[in-house]
Symmetry: C2
Subunit: 365 residues, 2 copies
Amino acid sequence: MATHKLLLLPGDGIGPEVMGEVKRLIDWLNSAGIAKFETDTGLVGGSAYDAHKVSISEGDMAKAMEADAIIFGAVGGPKWDAVPYEVRPEAGLLRLRKDLALFANLRPAVCYPALADASSLKREAVEGLDIVIVRELTGGVYFGEPKTITDLGNGQKRAIDTQVYDTYEIERIGRVAFELARKRKNKVTSMEKRNVMKSGVLWNEVMTAVHKREYPDVTLEHQLADSGGMMLVKAPKQFDVIVTDNLFGDMLSDIAAMLTGSLGMLPSASLGEVDVKSKKRKALYEPVHGSAPDIAGKGLANPIAMISSFGMALRYSFDMGALADKVDQAIAAVLASGLRTADIKSEGTTAASTTQMGEAILKEL
Amino acid sequence: MATHKLLLLPGDGIGPEVMGEVKRLIDWLNSAGIAKFETDTGLVGGSAYDAHKVSISEGDMAKAMEADAIIFGAVGGPKWDAVPYEVRPEAGLLRLRKDLALFANLRPAVCYPALADASSLKREAVEGLDIVIVRELTGGVYFGEPKTITDLGNGQKRAIDTQVYDTYEIERIGRVAFELARKRKNKVTSMEKRNVMKSGVLWNEVMTAVHKREYPDVTLEHQLADSGGMMLVKAPKQFDVIVTDNLFGDMLSDIAAMLTGSLGMLPSASLGEVDVKSKKRKALYEPVHGSAPDIAGKGLANPIAMISSFGMALRYSFDMGALADKVDQAIAAVLASGLRTADIKSEGTTAASTTQMGEAILKEL
Ligand SMILES: CC(C)[C@H](C(=O)O)[C@@H](O)C(=O)O
Ligand SMILES: CC(C)[C@H](C(=O)O)[C@@H](O)C(=O)O
């Protein structure tokens, strides 16, 4: 059995708690002889700042480079609101994405039937929702230069951020979306603001070309990101795969996640390019939810998004699709049994702590 | 009685139809001696392109500069998808905003009780919703330079857009938001992405300073634009005034509009700075909805957003608040009577065409 190297980066807030439940699962997989994971742990975000005055240490970056997959919790919190910009908690996550070239962020937005009523949307609008946002993750306004604040004198400052996209960056994220669509409902919706942004014009042009040249069998639609956002709120089930840039993807995937009523349940995968020689790809898996500092340390956090992110790692990094399916089924079974963490509690269900939820999923497995 | 100069720019798609109903209202106000409007009409967007191969002619720009207020319909449509970027329909609108320095875009998102069920959100989430998005309209990534597509050779192109904000731009839009909040529930929520964008850092810093210095009596909250978008979907009624930049404002105001179930009902105002001498400000009023080319020319369009935008003109440009109130009341009364255009039709209501709806509102007045 091959040994897989995992780097666990729990981060801040509820990160360590939900990571604990993934650790429990990994330990069991190892001891039951189902898989062989070697785990190491590092610091990222505020916890790295507290320890080393950086958002991630060079040592942990080196470990990240070596790992077969990174399992990431969450970063940030008001405690670090005043730290210098370069070492703010988010910088650690952004550096991991950039240095590991994790350009493809897959964010499924699935509405668990048992939770459809937790959505602010009407049941009929979200029941059965199953879409994936494919977000470009290493380009755009997140990383473009110049990115500066300049003092102009007279009490005036000027802030600049730069959105940059090259053809190849749009092509490769497009391919990820089209490949994914082929395994799903075969439809891709590309979103940009071509009526205002030159990057939107290029995005539209390149998506259209990749589609025509390599994926004519997939349906491709284009929508302006603002009306796309509207449509997501109005009738989300019309979509299958949505492909969009880093900033629009940030906004749209959060909104899609919120629609499902299952924010504490949604995983994500950030993937690099497949290496031609080793056939491996760098990858980081993290829940869509944040570090929720207000409920940290209280055993209230929902570990499902984190466990489900580990499930994505099994599927995308370790070719253990069958085991990943079992993890998904265990989650569904536990939900069906009526067990709920505080975020998804409703009448007639049984309250569970983070640990109780983790243990129940493990037992089901 | 003072004479007010209006420039009507119906634009494309359903623009001319809904503008027709405003024209009907203006004619009546004139003939009844309630007000004195002098109207002129111009071309913008695709219709300007078809006539002059530009998105707005210099002649119409000159009229716009002279007008006391511009009443704007909508622009764009698939017909002009292939026209050169510089003369695409939207360019006319963007030029009006920029050249007239209409930096403050006010977008109320109000849920009409009679229409609460038209929302994809649950009634309890949106009933009674009454928020305003104050969107910065002449800065940010819409207008920053460089804004280019460069051929890099080897089949590669590079697209660049630039987000730029200066202190004074953030200060003045902040003041508009704080002033507005004072007349409402006294709460402003500022949204940016300070964890990723330098313009977000400056935005946050300047809003905080303006608040502390000039509006300490107003409650100011800050939210990251992605989680702000989430909150807007989850529990929109927590907000009063949201102030944000041009691109986030584009996304967030469309989403807020869609929440209400009343997209065809929502007006907007785009305002310039008040001139110290004349005490006047340039202004453009337009519905939040687009040109809806699919239903154009069929008498299906809902004229309420357009009429309501004219109502905002009465209020903000002509100090006719009482008359504006009457327009709002007439709209509410007609809705209460059960009259509905196709977009808001539901069981037990009476179908109305664009014209019938406009006439009914006028009759009510
Ligand atoms: C934490 C932050 C930097 C990050 C982002 O903006 O990408 C987060 O919002 C996300 O979506 O993963
Ligand atoms: C038509 C387009 C240029 C415009 C914008 O992006 O600002 C529209 O979406 C709006 O919100 O008024």
